[in-house]
């Protein structure tokens, strides 16, 4: 929608810069320079305005608050024999997403393993590589991810010379309240050397 009366023919005779303005005139050159600066400055601001505002909206996920985890009761101490194989427990919660709050459902799972009389270790069952579903293999006594064959020892440390996983299994904080095992469930950004809460 070019303005109705500014669209003179782009004939080749009018293609050169500043046609009609005497190029030798210093005053005219200076004015043209200022006009070009104004063009860049004002035009840039105008075009960038909506773009920047839109980009902030697009970038919203980067500034979204990150969960500090959810403290849940997963098991009783009596369910976990000392030195027994890691047990997988589902974590149930009412997760929120955008404007939604869902009813109670599984939001992840945790391996619990009793390492001492009053010591329990907990690992998020998502592989730190690309969140594959880790399983415990009793015959080799290791954690195993079927996606890219990451292996982890019972204490969560990576096994093998070149593990696909950039870090050991994600250990979760455990709190023993009497005979109850409470875990701070949390997910972490996959495929990073550090544990960055997701």
């Amino acid at each position: 929608m070019r303005a109705e009366d500014d669209t003179a023919g782009p004939g080749p005779e009018r293609m050169e810069l500043g046609a009609g303005v005497a190029p030798t005139d210093d005053e005219a050159t200076r004015r043209q320079f200022l006009q070009k600066v104004a063009c860049l400055g004002l035009g840039g601001c105008a075009l960038l305005g909506p773009v920047v505002a839109g980009a902030v909206v697009v970038a919203h996920p980067l500034v979204e608050r990150r969960g500090s985890g959810l403290l849940v009761r997963l098991a009783g101490l009596e369910d976990l024999p000392v030195g027994g194989a890691p047990q997988l427990y589902q974590v149930l919660a009412e997760p929120s997403e955008a404007w939604l709050k869902f009813s109670r459902r599984a939001i992840g799972s945790v391996f619990l393993m009793r390492t001492g009389e009053r010591e329990v270790s907990a690992f998020n069952s998502a592989c730190p590589h690309v969140s594959g579903p880790i399983t415990w293999r009793e015959e080799t006594r290791d954690f195993f991810c079927p996606l890219h064959e990451s292996r982890f020892a019972a204490d969560g440390v990576r096994l093998g010379t070149a593990s696909p996983s950039p870090r050991d299994l994600d250990a979760l904080d455990v709190e023993l309240r009497g005979a109850e095992v409470w875990v701070r469930f949390q997910n972490f950004t996959p495929n990073m050397a550090q544990k960055k809460p997701a």
């Binding site: 003179a8 009018r14 009609g20 009813s103």
Partner: protein, 610 residues
């Protein structure tokens, strides 16, 4: 480097394109009145950018449209600003385009050989209006919902295929999920595509028209009134002389839009759509108010609704299209200018008429206040809940006492009771109140006025009830004689006893707003409780109170949540008015109100709503 550039240029011609774009000649030199076209282009650019950003979060759907827009508005970083810009720029674009059309007509820039360019502008204005219209349906708030309902209703009034068009637009027989999906496809897909196509065509057509004219006119002898009178003057390139003016205009336009958005606090969002509420305050966006007014004219009533809704806009559109042909006639141009001015004047007049009409209608003003209240309530609740159930905000509001209380009161109670003089929703009662005004029921003030001989017999309390004006064969209620005779003759001491009794009874109600005062006056309230008995005002002669049972209405827990629920459930119960019940229906017993509904009325009356 040069070789690479040439290789690229040879295959794309991009540099030549931009040279053409930047250095195309502006006949007559640069000027501020030529910024128009660039401004419209810039507004469209801004709409595309902000629209795409909003698209990342907006989810069309009856349980997600309002919710996602509210999320954008309150949670997404910069969301309110981007939505505000999108909203206000759209409004201003309508103004820009209408003024632009007027400029074209008055300036004679629609005549040969510019007819097609002019037609494209006319179509573009229509398509932009359609984009705005679909845009304000999308939030699925009251206005959006009503817009879909009313517009589709008008479609059904159209001749022959009207009902089919309606269902094609709605994607079903009722506005709902499918409608939102269709409107979304139109608003963000089809219509923007059409607009971009129109711009491309317009650019091509105008350039060709101007070139043609210049060849024919050889620089000077161009036809008068085609805007090229200046063709003999020096011709300068668009860049930078005109370009910086365009840039400045765009920057100023954007700044103004930002200021409007910030001052207005972003775009409005009304309460979520509610099929069960016929919101009398519903109005279309201001640029469609003229249609709204036309529809209210008596000559267009009934089966002739399609005339203002379709025939008149169609005729206006047709006239615009025919203008170039009309202009060939000697006086044609003058007729066109007159018609265009008359059209804009009529449009403005009808719009202003609606505003004035609404402003002078107290019912409409009250409805607008009520709609604002409900919008604010929905917003407050959504923020407070910090996460909505998958059923959406409408489901939350369906169980919200603050929202449903006044509505139910207006439907069920306001045939007899007023609330602070109105029907609960800020509007006058249909018939004069014939029972007590229930605003502040249970409070000290309500009760002390009730027990005041000067007030009890007024229409605000019992003046119009059967207790004061008994029917044939009945006597005036003993309560009324007590107040008008006994209380009227009270000594100073008895009056101070009465005040304590009022405080004690009001404490029974346990109103949340009075909790602090009740706690503060605990001693006096205890004294008041004692004075209810024989050693004081002897209320227990008639009323059940603590160990004195049998009398009615029962004063234990008077005005409390449970007492009120039980009362509304069955006022004719022995605990309440029994056989002396005036005309109040037993809402619960008859099933006219569910227990939930009674609870919501009570919670709203008591101010218990969270």
């Amino acid at each position: 480097m040069r070789a690479l550039f040439d290789w690229f240029e040879e295959r794309t011609g991009l540099a030549a394109f931009f040279r053409d774009l930047f250095f195309h000649a502006v006949p007559g030199g640069p000027g501020w009145r030529r910024v128009w076209g660039t401004l419209v282009l810039f507004a469209l650019f801004s709409q595309c950018v902000t629209g795409l950003a909003l698209w990342l979060y907006y989810v069309p759907g009856v349980v997600s449209s309002w919710e996602s827009v509210h999320f954008i508005q309150t949670k997404v970083a910069g969301g309110w600003l981007v939505r505000g810009l999108h909203h206000y720029v759209a409004q201003v674009m309508v103004v820009l385009l209408v003024l632009h059309l007027l400029q074209l007509v008055i300036g004679g820039l629609y005549r040969a050989p510019r007819e097609i360019g002019f037609w494209l502008s006319v179509v573009m204005t229509g398509v932009v209006l359609a984009t705005c219209f679909t845009g304000y349906i999308l939030p699925w708030d009251r206005r959006g919902f009503m817009a879909s309902q009313v517009s589709s209703g008008l479609m059904a009034n159209g001749p022959f295929v009207g009902p089919w068009i309606r269902e094609l637009f709605l994607g079903g027989v009722q506005p709902g999920q499918a409608t939102l999906q269709r409107v979304m496809v139109l608003h963000s897909g089809v219509l923007p595509g059409v607009i971009i196509g129109l711009i491309v065509m317009q650019t091509l057509v105008f350039r060709r028209a101007v070139r043609h004219e210049r060849r024919r006119g050889e620089g000077t002898a161009v036809p008068a009134g085609t805007g090229l009178e200046e063709a003999g003057l020096p011709v300068t390139a668009w860049f930078p002389g005109q370009a910086w003016r365009d840039a400045a205009a765009c920057a100023a336009f954007l700044s103004a839009m930002m200021v409007i958005t910030v001052v207005a606090g972003g775009a409005p969002l009304e309460a979520p759509a509610d099929v069960s509420v016929a919101d009398p305050s519903a109005r279309p966006e201001w640029y469609f108010l003229f249609l709204f007014r036309l529809l209210h004219l008596e000559i267009f009533a009934g089966s002739r609704q399609f005339i203002p809704a379709m025939v008149l806009p169609g005729a206006a559109f047709g006239f615009l299209i025919l203008m170039p042909f009309l202009a060939r006639w000697k006086f044609g141009h003058r007729v066109n200018v007159f018609a265009a001015c008359a059209g804009v004047a009529g449009y403005s007049l009808l719009t202003a008429w609606t505003w004035v009409h609404d402003w002078r209608d107290p019912g409409q003003r009250a409805a607008m206040v009520q709609a604002k209240k409900e919008a604010a309530r929905a917003h407050t609740l959504a923020v407070k809940l910090d996460g909505l159930p998958p059923g959406g905000m409408a489901a939350v509001l369906a169980g919200d006492a603050y929202t449903q209380g006044p509505r139910l009161f207006a439907q069920k109670c306001a045939s007899c009771h007023a609330y602070d003089g109105h029907n609960g929703q800020g509007r006058p009662l249909a018939t004069p109140a014939s029972a007590a005004d229930l605003a502040g029921f249970g409070s000290r003030q309500w009760l002390s006025e009730f027990l005041d001989p000067a007030h009890l017999v007024t229409p605000k309390y019992w003046g119009e009830t059967g207790f004061v004006k008994p029917s044939e064969g009945e006597k005036v209620s003993k309560m009324v004689t007590f107040v008008t005779e006994d209380v009227a003759g009270y000594s100073a001491v008895e009056k101070s006893h009465l005040e304590k009794v009022v405080w004690a009874l009001s404490a029974e109600a346990g109103l949340p707003a009075q909790a602090a005062v009740d706690a503060r006056d605990a001693t006096l309230i205890a004294e008041g409780r004692r004075l209810l008995g024989e050693e004081g005002l002897a209320c227990t002669d008639c009323h059940a109170w603590r160990e004195e049972t049998g009398g009615r209405p029962v004063l234990d827990g008077w005005g409390s949540r449970q007492w009120m629920i039980d009362f509304i459930h069955d006022p004719a119960h022995d605990r309440f008015y029994g056989s002396r019940n005036d005309r109040m229906p037993s809402y619960g017993v008859k099933g006219e109100l569910t227990p939930d509904q009674i609870g919501m009325i009570v919670d709203w009356l008591r101010g218990d709503a969270p």
